[in-house]
Structure formats: C-alpha cells, structure tokens
C-alpha cells in the first residue's frame, strides 16, 4: 500500500467532528440492508477489499443477473447464518464519517424479534430511520415501529419511503404514504409533542436516489437527502442535556490511600498531597455541574444529604464545569459515606425515592412475565430485588390502546407495577431518558428480561397524549 491517494485538504481543519448515533428499522424485504449498504457505499465507508468480497459473493449467487450488480445487503450481514439465509438476525453496528460527523449506525433487523431489536437500537439513538416499501405503504408493522419509537422518546424519526423507483417515482403515491405516516404520527403524538420530530423522504436504496445526493428523478420532492438530514439534526444531548438537572450515578469511589499510579508519581504527582484523595467516579447522565454547585447525595433508605462540589477531576486535569455524557470524578466538601449505587444530583431537583415502581416494560425474553415473579431491577449503578405486583395491561401497538393482560410475552409492551426491596430515585422516562430507564433481570440466569421505562402512577396527572 502506498500513500498516493488524494487526501482531503481539510482533513485537519475539519476536526473535531461530533458523534451522531442512529438506528434503522424496517419490515421484511423493504430493502433496509440495501439502504444501509448504500449509505456506507456512497459515503465511501466501504473499502476496496470489503467491496471485492461482496462482489465475489454477489457473482457466486447470480445477483443482478446480466447487469453484474452487487448485493449491497451483503455488506451488513455479519454472521454465517445471515449470509446463508439472506436474512439479518441481530443488531449490527456500522461506522462511517463525513466532514461534519462521525456516525454510529445500529442496523436493527425487522422480522425476528423486531421489538427487541428496535428497542435495543433506539435506546441509544439520536435518530431512527424507519423504512417503508413504496408499493406497500404503511403496514401494521410500521405502526408498531413508530409506537416503539414514541415510547422510547427518540428525538428524530425519519421515514424513508423506499423503492420509489418501483412506483415510477410517482408523487401521488409518495404523498399518500406521507399523509398516512403523519396521521399515525398524530395518533401517537409523534412529531407533535415537542419531544420528537417526524420527517418523510422518498428514496431508492438500490439506485441511491435521495440517499446521499438529492435525486433529479423526484423533482417534486424539494427536501433534503437522507444523509443531509443525518448530518444536520441536533444530537439528543445537544437538545436535552443542558436543559436538564444534573444527575450522576456513582460508579465507584477513587481512594488510592497511598497506592498511587507509578507513572503519575514519576510524572511529578505530589504523593503527599494525594494521600487522602477521595473522589466519586461516574458518567454524568444528565445536565451539567460546576465547582461550587450545591448537590444532594441520594442513598436508598436515607434522606438526601446536601453538600458542595469542591472539585471535578479527570485524569490529572481539574475542570470548572462538566456536562453529560462526560466521565469524571467529583470531590465533595463533606466526607459523607458515599458508595456505588448512590446518585449525586443538583440540590432540590429530585423527588422522593420510591419503592413503588410503575413502568412500561418492553418484554425481551422468551420467558414470560408473570404476576408475583421475583426479578432484579438495574437502575443507574444500583441493582435491587423486586417483585412484580401486577400487570396493568398489554399495549396493542396497532391501536395504541392498553388491553387487559395478566402476563407479558416476548416482544410485548405492557404496563406493570413493581415493588422494590429498596427505594430508588426514579424519574419519569418522559423527561429523563437515562434516570427514567432500567433493566429487568432474571435472578436465576442473569439474562435481561425487559427494558423498563418509569411512568407516573396512573391517576397522577399524566397527560393523556402520553398514554403509551
């Protein structure tokens, strides 16, 4: 290999880029893998040897007939079974970058366990791209996908109406689907509740229309191409984190007690000054913190203790201010007994910890949820035992109505009431995408059973629009 390739002249000046995470979701055969392959290919994220491998396999399987085309879907199918069966089984992560942004793409398969995969991909996504086949329009599964995204409060939902070439680039077909999508969005509150927005784009993943470049074949569409949208949307933490109150689950206590890192000492660290060093390490999940801020330490079973932040450290550097999602170590004025599982929060912004948990559960396990079951709840950095007191109902994702149910099965979404062995500083997921989220874990084999989203108790003043 040589370095003769032409380099982008602004390589250095373009830095630093920011990170944007998005996911794709779709139904069977709507061309999602092809769209992902197209995005990677046209943004030059696919390198020559990868393309060669795909071209060889495409030729072996006779893809593209006489045209000798390549099957872009092969770029994303990572497991042997997926390539052999021509299906995507599991969430795959892909990486590409433009001058503006580095992207992490979670490619979520549509047919097997779609709820599990969509919930997983969407939980960390700034945006989700949902595919619709232009020949089929809005299907029941599209409604299900959109309702899962609304439940998870994904900031930006982009609907790509794919295979627009197969309906002769027809504007009336597109407008009809667009109207249907907006109708579903309204029913869900998606794109109209100030939390999320909803965009519809006509694309042909196979030919690349409106994927990276705007297409001349859809002159009636004046909006941006998909990649342009992804490059310009604000990331979720730009939208939220600085408006929210500071939250910091303590991961561990850094207290070297004289056992200092030899390289730090060699570099001139004053060992004596760090003899009594004590800081609380963690990642800021929401908001920001400054030296001098008043904070409350929340420990289950104790009333909040208020103190002052005297230092924010990161690997030898002291900072005046830090914000989500930074990992830091925080020093406090008072020597409280603070441990893993405690939360440090902006003083006066936290409601009382509660052992009664009412939540929406996305059930991700083949083992069904039954009333009376003993489970573990992992919230922030604390895991507590819990009992399922009652299942309040199961959500019909097509009608968005809660129906009576006494158990939840794989891929069901429902509401349940849990009793915790220790009170936790729970917050409504609607306003807190991190401190409102938790895992339900099987105490027997340790598997993750459900994704949990904290809700207000029914009867408390929750807005009707947010009923799902």
């Amino acid at each position: 290999m040589t370095t003769e390739a032409v380099l982008p002249a602004d390589l250095e000046t373009a830095l630093p880029t920011t990170l944007f995470r998005f996911a794709t979701a779709g139904s069977v055969d709507d061309g999602k893998s092809t769209l992902v392959g197209r995005l990677l290919h046209d943004s030059k994220a696919i390198l020559a040897d990868q393309l060669d491998a795909v071209a060889r396999t495409s030729a072996d399987r006779g893809f593209g007939g006489e045209k000798g085309g390549i099957d872009l879907a092969l770029l994303t199918d990572g497991l042997r079974a997926e390539r052999e069966q021509g299906i995507t089984i599991d969430v795959a992560y892909r990486y590409f970058a433009t001058d503006q942004r580095s992207f992490i793409l979670a490619d979520c398969p549509g047919h097997v366990q779609y709820t599990k995969n969509t919930v997983t991909g969407a939980s960390t996504a700034d945006a989700v791209v949902v595919l619709i086949d232009a020949r089929k329009g809005v299907l029941e599964q599209t409604r299900r996908h959109l309702s899962v995204l609304q439940l998870l409060r994904v900031a930006h939902v982009i609907v790509a109406v794919n295979k627009i070439d197969l309906v002769d680039f027809s504007e009336p077909v597109f407008r009809g689907i667009e109207a249907d999508v907006q109708q579903v969005g309204r029913e869900l509150g998606l794109g109209s509740d100030g939390i999320s927005d909803l965009l519809v784009i006509p694309v042909s993943a196979l030919d690349g229309d409106n994927v990276v470049e705007r297409s001349a074949r859809t002159p009636w569409y004046t909006g941006p191409a998909l990649l342009e949208v992804l490059e310009t949307l604000p990331a979720a933490d730009e939208l939220e984190s600085h408006l929210e109150s500071f939250r910091f689950p303590v991961q561990l206590v850094v207290r070297p007690q004289g056992a200092l890192a030899p390289d730090a000492v060699a570099a001139g660290l004053d060992a004596e000054a760090y003899r009594d060093y004590r800081a609380y390490a963690g990642q800021i999940t929401e908001g920001s913190v400054k030296v001098g801020d008043q904070v409350s330490v929340l420990t289950p079973g104790q009333s909040p203790r208020t103190t002052t932040v005297v230092g924010i450290d990161f690997a030898g550097a002291s900072m005046e201010e830090a914000a989500a999602p930074q990992s830091v170590a925080i020093r406090l004025a008072d020597e409280f007994d603070v441990a893993r599982g405690d939360t440090i929060a902006a003083a006066g912004t936290v409601r009382e910890a509660s052992a009664d948990l009412y939540a929406a559960l996305c059930w991700l396990s083949p083992k069904p949820l039954r009333e009376g079951a003993k489970v573990l709840v992992k919230h922030g950095t604390r895991t507590v035992q819990a009992m399922v007191r009652s299942v309040a109902g199961k959500l019909d994702l097509a009608t968005f109505k809660l129906e009576g149910a006494s158990s939840l099965e794989l891929n069901d979404i429902g509401h349940a009431q849990l009793r915790l062995a220790a009170p936790l500083p729970l917050e409504n997921y609607l306003h807190h995408r991190r401190t409102g989220a938790f895992l339900v874990i099987d105490p027997l084999d340790g598997n993750t059973l459900a994704a949990g989203l904290v809700k207000d108790h029914p009867g408390d003043h929750e807005d009707e629009r947010y009923s799902i």
Binding site: M1, L79, Q251, R434
Partner: protein, 314 residues
C-alpha cells in the same frame, strides 16, 4: 437583575459550545464501561499484547482510576512467534505502570503435546486454549479486550459485554440486548464476560486518539526499513519463525505494521508514515481495511473470525 440574566445566557452558550468531540464522547463511554466492569466483577483482567488497541485500552484504564493504580492485572497470550520489540514494549509498559503480568504460553502447550502446530504455521488460532486456561486458572470473571466492531463482520454483531460459557464460547444467536448505558454483566459460576469498551471506535479514531494523547507504541507501527518477502499478497518480515520459501525473494523495503499479531500471520504494508500524524493521514486515505491488508488468519474464510469467536477466541 439584569446581571444575573446575562450570566444565565452565558452559561447556556458555553454549555452548547462545549459539545464533546467524537473522541471525547468515545473516551467517556469507554471509561464508563471500564469502571462498570471493575465495580461489578470480582476479578477482571486486561488482554494486553502491546498492539495499538490494547495500548489504548490500558491508557483509558489509567485515566479511569487516576491517581490510583490500574486495579487489575494484564494478560498476554504469547504465541512464541511475537515480534521481539513488541514483547520488549509489553514488559516496559507493565513495569512503568506497576502492573502484574500473567502470560499464557502457546509454546508450553505445544511442548506438552496439548496443542499441535498447524500445517500453515500460523499460531493465532492456537491462542484460544492457553487463553481459556489462563482465565480458568486465575479465576478471571471479566476479561477486557481491545476488539472493535469495525474490524470484522462478526465483531460488528458482538455486544460490549459478551457472555461466554464454561467453554469460552460465544453464542451469537443468543446475546443479551444492550440498552441505554446499562450493562448487564451477571453470570453464573464458570461463565465469564469479555468486555469491549472500545467497540465503537474505528481504526482512525484509535490513531487520532494516540496522536492527541501522545501515547507510545512499539516502533514497528511506524515506517522503518525491514527485510521482507512477498506471500499471500502481503509483505512478511524475515525472522526466526518466518522464513522465505523457495522462490520468495528477500528485499529491503520501507514498511510499517497496521496490526500487530503473530509474526507468522501478520503482514506489513509499504509506507512512508514515520510519525503518528503521518499515520493518521495514511489511515484516513487507505482503501483497504486493516485486517484485509495485513492478516492472513482472517483470509481463511468469510466467517473466520466468527468461527474463532465461537470457539472462545478474543
């Protein structure tokens, strides 16, 4: 009144302008994962080969626990065919950071007759048995690795915390969903977890980070003159265990290594990248993936990595 209003506006503006760069975001994510594993597991260890990804992992660990020591040992599976300068780098690094080094030796397993040399001479696939033996005999319940999802199709599907059974095997069709930043590392006796905190980094991210943090690497990552011969479309170094066959001419070339594995399967690339910033520019412009360019072990089949992982590989 008006003063406080002005202050408030300034705070908002500064908060927005401090939006983290992608490297800072990746660094924070990795440190969060490293701390989670240390807090939730009894006995973690870090796989450390002296390769760039494991060097970055160790650097992140020093930052995560600063000013304290890195609170876990490092584990190296020595194929017996490593580059001598990489072993030297490994030992100096361990010494500098005051770490404990555990070595699993492929050679010892071969000498005892518990492993057989492969016909093609490559020892990378032989690392699995000594690795699992070291994990079991040291009772490690979590093992950090520098694996990245952009390296390989199978790795693209693996979780950040990847559960392995009693035989070290990965079951790709039965993985736990990984939600938000809540990592579930629960395991039963005999099982262990492989943790990949830099899953979301690309090769370019690694190099930009090495440049930014001024991290030392073994010299063979940078351009140098070396006696090489061509095999399987790669430049292979001449060494004790890597000798040209008949018809393979030895020539001196200016090369560097993009990945550092076993000498028997790692190829060099022609390069004039003498410094870390040269390498950043070279990697950004490269038209080949690092494994495609330099690793014979991944050319065995389309699913080579997946098959090795199912057997307990890194």
């Amino acid at each position: 009144m008006s003063t406080s209003l002005t202050e408030e506006t300034q705070v908002t503006e500064s908060a927005i302008s401090t939006r983290l760069s992608s490297l800072d975001t990746l660094e924070s994510e990795a440190i969060h994962i490293i701390r989670e594993v240390v807090a939730e597991f009894e006995k973690p260890a870090l796989l450390f080969s002296g390769g760039k990804d494991s060097v970055v992992m160790l650097h992140l660990a020093t930052k995560a626990f600063w000013p304290g020591k890195v609170p876990f040992p490092v584990l190296h599976v020595d194929t017996g065919h490593n580059f001598p300068e990489v072993i030297d780098f490994r030992d100096r690094t361990v010494e500098r950071l005051g770490l404990k080094l555990v070595v699993g030796s492929v050679q010892e397993f071969i000498d005892r007759g518990e492993l057989a040399e492969r016909a093609d001479g490559t020892r990378n696939p032989l690392q699995t048995v000594p690795l699992l033996d070291a994990i079991q005999s040291n009772k490690f319940d979590a093992v950090f690795g520098g694996g990245r999802r952009d390296e390989d199709k199978a790795r693209a599907k693996e979780r950040i915390l990847s559960l392995r059974d009693e035989f070290g095997q990965w079951d790709p069709r039965n993985q736990r969903p990984e939600l938000w930043n809540l990592y579930n590392g629960r395991h039963t006796v005999g099982q262990h977890v492989r943790a990949f905190p830099i899953s979301n980094w690309t090769e370019l991210d690694i190099w930009r980070y090495i440049e930014r943090e001024n991290i030392e690497l073994p010299g063979l990552y940078y351009a140098h003159e070396r006696e090489v011969f061509a095999r399987d479309g790669m430049w292979r170094a001449v060494g004790e265990v890597s000798q040209p066959r008949e018809g393979e001419d030895v020539i001196t070339k200016t090369v560097r290594y993009r990945t550092v594995g076993d000498m028997s399967c790692t190829g060099a690339v022609e390069s004039n990248a003498y410094t870390v910033s040269d390498v950043v520019v070279e990697v950004a412009a490269s038209t080949l993936t690092e494994r495609g360019a330099t690793r014979a072990d991944d050319r065995i089949s389309e699913a080579a990595m997946e098959d090795r992982k199912k057997d307990g590989y890194f």
